[in-house]
C-alpha cells in the first residue's frame, strides 16, 4: 500500500477527516509558496495538493486562474514544481504530496521523464483534471512503473459504469468533485452531496476525498460524515490574499481553522 491510502487509514483510526490543502506553486512567488507548503505541514495538513500552473486552466474558477497566471508571470516552470518537492522532502516533509496540474505541460516535459523525475524526488501521485480515464493510458503506465498513484476525479454527473472504471484504474484515493462546476470557494455544501457520495462508496473501496467549494470547518466536518478526506483550495488562497504580507502564517492559521483548532 502506498503512503496515500495509509494516511487515510491513519486519519480514520484517529477518527478524523484527512485534510488536504491545495497550493499553487509560484504563488505569490516560488520562495513564498515553498514556505506556505512547509507552514501547512507544520499546521497539521495530512496530505497536500501541489498545484502546477497552466496558462489555460479550464476546470478552475477565478481564484486558481489568477494564482496560476501570477505564477506563470513569475516564470514558474514545471521543473520548478518538481524541484520544490525535492527541497521540502530534504527539509523533512514526509506527508503525501500529489502534483496537480493540466496535461499539456506534462506532455511537453515528457510523460515518462516527468514521472521518473517525480518518483526520484518523492512525489506520491498525480491529479490531472483534463485527463479522463479514456486518455490516461500513457501516464497510468508510467505511474505504475514507478509505484506512484494516479488519482482520478469523479463528479456528480459520473454514471455507475464510469464509477466502476475509475475505481478499477485509479489508485491512492478517488477525488470526488462536490459540485457540478469549477473550483472555487462556496458557502454551503450541496444537499445532493450525501446521496452522490453514497453512490460513489458503493462502487469503490478506495479512500474518498471531496473537493471543490469547501471553505469552513463545518463543511469539512460535514464532508467527514460521508468521505475520508476534504480538499480545500480556493478558500485557503482567498484567505491568504487577505494577508498578503504574511501568507505562510495565514495559510497555517487557515489549516488550523479548518481542523477546528483556531479561529479566523
Amino acid at each position: 500500500m502506498s503512503r496515500i491510502p495509509e494516511t487515510f487509514q491513519r486519519c480514520a483510526a484517529e477518527n478524523r477527516t484527512a485534510l488536504m490543502p491545495y497550493l499553487t506553486v509560484g504563488y505569490p512567488d516560488l520562495a513564498t509558496s515553498e514556505q506556505i507548503l512547509l507552514a501547512m505541514v507544520e499546521a497539521g495538513a495530512d496530505l497536500i495538493e501541489v498545484g502546477t500552473p497552466f496558462s489555460d486552466p479550464l476546470a478552475d474558477g477565478s481564484t486558481v486562474q489568477r494564482t496560476s497566471q501570477v505564477s506563470l508571470e513569475h516564470g514558474t516552470r514545471l521543473r520548478d514544481c518538481v524541484a520544490l518537492v525535492e527541497r521540502v522532502r530534504a527539509a523533512g516533509v514526509t506527508i503525501p504530496l500529489m502534483l496537480m496540474g493540466y496535461y499539456n505541460p506534462i506532455v511537453k516535459y515528457g510523460v515518462e521523464q516527468y514521472v521518473t523525475d517525480c518518483a526520484a524526488v518523492g512525489v506520491d501521485g498525480f491529479i490531472v483534471p483534463d485527463l479522463p480515464i479514456e486518455e490516461s493510458h500513457r501516464l497510468h503506465t508510467a505511474a505504475q512503473e514507478h509505484d506512484l498513484d494516479l488519482i482520478f476525479m469523479v463528479a456528480p454527473t459520473t454514471n455507475d459504469e464510469r464509477l466502476d472504471q475509475v475505481s478499477n484504474l485509479g489508485t491512492g484515493f478517488v477525488y470526488c468533485v462536490a459540485v457540478t462546476g469549477v473550483t472555487g470557494a462556496r458557502g454551503t455544501m450541496s444537499a445532493t452531496l450525501a446521496p452522490y457520495m453514497q453512490r460513489v462508496r458503493e462502487h469503490t473501496d478506495q479512500p474518498l476525498a471531496v473537493g471543490f467549494g469547501i471553505s469552513s470547518p463545518e463543511a469539512v466536518n460535514q464532508v467527514g460524515t460521508m468521505a475520508d478526506g476534504a480538499i480545500v483550495g480556493s478558500a485557503l488562497i482567498d484567505y491568504m490574499d487577505e494577508h498578503p504580507d504574511h501568507m505562510p502564517a495565514a495559510a497555517a492559521r487557515f489549516v488550523r481553522y479548518l481542523r477546528g483548532e483556531a479561529a479566523i
Partner: protein
C-alpha cells in the same frame, strides 16, 4: 506515393475514440464526460435520421440561402497572375446568411440541441461571426443564447457585438488570459461544466474535444460538396487546388473534406502569419506549432518550451487562435495537405486586390487565403484551376482595416 485508400472518407475517421490518426481524442474534465458521450450518441442518431437531415436541408435552402455560388474571379486572377496564372474560383460563403460560413454549423448544432431538449445555448466567438451565427440560429429556433467573447475581440469587433445583442443574445466579456478566442473557449467550457444538464455548447470550429471536430466538419462539409458539383458543372472534372484560411479550421475542413479522397487535388491551408513567423506574433499553429493538448484534443499547438500556451497575434480575430483542428493536423502529418502562412500586411494586400478587381469586400480571415492564392499559384499555369474559400464578407472588419490604413471613421 501515399496509398489512395488512406484518404477515403468513411465513418472510421475519426475512430470510435475520436482520433484522426494520432490526433484528436477527449481530454476533458470528468464532469463533462457523460454529456460529451450523450452528445456523440445523439449526433450519430440525428446524422442518420432522414427527418433531421430534411429539416437541415430545408433551412439551408430557404434560410441560409444555399447553395452559395462558385464564382470565377477573372479580374482577380488576371491581376494576380498577369495572364499566366491559374483560373481562380471563389466559393461564396460570404453570401450565406449572416455573412460567413459559420451559420452552416450553428444551424446544425442548434437543431441538434433542440432535438436533445436543451434550451440554454452557450457559444464562444473570436471575430464574432460564430457568435452572430449562433445568436441567429437561437433566435430562429427560440433558444436562450449566451456568447463568451474576449475583451480584446469585443473591442475590435464591436459591430458584431451589437449584432448579437440585437438578435437577443447575451454577450459576456472574458477578461482572463489573452482576452481572445482561446480564453473565450476556456470560459465557455467552465460554463458548460457548471450548467451541463440544461446547456448545449455550440462549438464554432473543428478543434476542441471529440465529437466537435467531427460534428462541425460534417455540418461544414456542404461547402466542399457544393463546390465540387458546381465546378464539375462549370468547368468539368476536378480543380487543381483548393485553398482556405485556417484558424481553428472550420471553413477549411468544410471545403477540404470532399476533396480528401481525390489525391490529384492539391490542398493548401493558409494560417495567420501576423507580424511574421520569426517571433511569437502570429497564429500559424500548423506551420510553427508542436503537438500537444489544448481545449480537449491532441493536435498541433503554439506553446512555449514549458508547455504553456502562447498568446497569438493576427490582424484577423477569427484566425487568432493557438490551436487547430485535429483532422487538419492529421492532414499535415499524412502529407495530404500543405500549410503556409500569410502576414497581416500580405492579407491586407489580398483584401484590397479583391475589393478593387471584383467588387467584393472579403473578411480579413478569407483575405489570407486570397493573398496566398494571388502570390503563390502562378507556377501552376493558365490551364490550372484553383478554388479559394471566400469564407466571409468583410463588413465586420471595416474598423480594423481603416485603422491599419490610418483612416479615422
Amino acid at each position: 506515393m501515399i496509398e489512395q485508400r488512406v484518404f477515403e472518407n468513411s465513418e472510421s475517421r475519426p475512430d470510435s475514440h475520436g482520433y484522426y490518426g494520432r490526433f484528436g481524442g477527449v481530454f476533458a474534465p470528468e464532469t463533462l464526460m457523460p454529456a460529451i458521450n450523450e452528445l456523440t450518441a445523439a449526433y450519430q442518431v440525428a446524422k442518420h435520421d432522414p427527418e433531421f437531415q430534411a429539416e437541415l436541408e430545408h433551412l439551408r435552402k430557404t434560410y441560409i440561402g444555399r447553395p452559395t455560388g462558385l464564382y470565377e474571379a477573372k479580374r482577380f486572377a488576371e491581376a494576380a497572375g498577369g495572364g499566366n496564372g491559374p483560373r481562380i474560383f471563389l466559393k461564396r460563403e460570404d453570401m450565406a446568411h449572416t455573412g460567413a460560413h459559420k451559420i452552416n454549423n450553428a444551424i446544425g448544432q442548434a437543431l441538434l440541441a433542440k432535438r436533445m431538449g436543451k434550451t440554454r445555448i452557450i457559444a464562444e466567438t473570436g471575430a464574432g461571426q460564430h457568435g452572430v451565427a449562433t445568436a441567429t440560429a437561437c433566435a430562429l429556433l427560440g433558444l436562450d443564447c449566451i456568447v463568451y467573447m474576449g475583451e480584446v475581440d469585443i473591442h475590435r469587433q464591436s459591430l458584431n457585438v451589437f449584432r448579437m445583442r440585437l438578435l437577443g443574445a447575451e454577450v459576456r466579456p472574458v477578461t482572463s488570459g489573452s482576452k481572445t478566442l482561446k480564453d473565450a473557449i476556456n470560459e465557455a467550457i467552465r460554463d458548460w461544466v457548471t450548467n451541463v444538464d440544461e446547456t448545449f455548447y455550440i462549438f464554432g470550429t473543428v478543434a476542441g474535444m471529440h465529437p466537435y471536430p467531427m460534428i462541425v466538419r460534417d455540418f461544414q462539409s456542404v461547402i466542399g460538396k457544393e463546390a465540387r458539383q458546381q465546378f464539375e458543372e462549370q468547368v468539368g472534372g476536378l480543380p487543381t487546388m483548393v485553398v482556405a484560411c485556417v484558424g481553428g479550421g472550420s471553413n477549411a475542413m468544410g471545403l477540404f473534406y470532399e476533396f480528401i479522397p481525390f489525391t490529384d487535388v492539391e490542398i493548401v491551408g493558409v494560417e495567420a502569419g501576423g507580424h511574421g513567423l520569426d517571433g511569437h506574433a502570429h497564429a500559424a499553429t500548423l506551420v510553427k506549432g508542436e503537438q500537444g493538448v489544448l481545449h480537449g484534443s491532441w493536435s498541433y499547438v503554439l506553446q512555449d518550451d514549458d508547455g504553456q500556451i502562447i498568446e497569438t497575434h493576427s490582424i484577423s480575430a477569427g484566425l487568432d487562435y493557438p490551436g487547430v483542428g485535429p483532422e487538419l493536423s492529421w492532414m499535415k502529418d499524412s502529407g495530404r495537405a500543405t500549410f503556409a502562412a500569410i502576414t497581416d500586411e500580405e492579407a491586407l494586400e489580398g483584401f484590397q486586390l479583391l475589393c478593387r478587381t471584383e467588387g467584393i469586400i472579403p473578411a480579413l480571415e478569407s483575405s489570407h487565403a486570397l493573398a496566398w492564392a494571388a502570390k503563390h499559384t502562378k507556377h501552376l499555369g493558365p490551364d490550372a484551376t484553383v478554388i479559394v474559400n471566400l469564407s466571409g464578407r468583410g463588413d465586420k472588419d471595416m474598423h480594423t482595416v481603416a485603422e491599419a490604413f490610418g483612416v479615422e471613421l
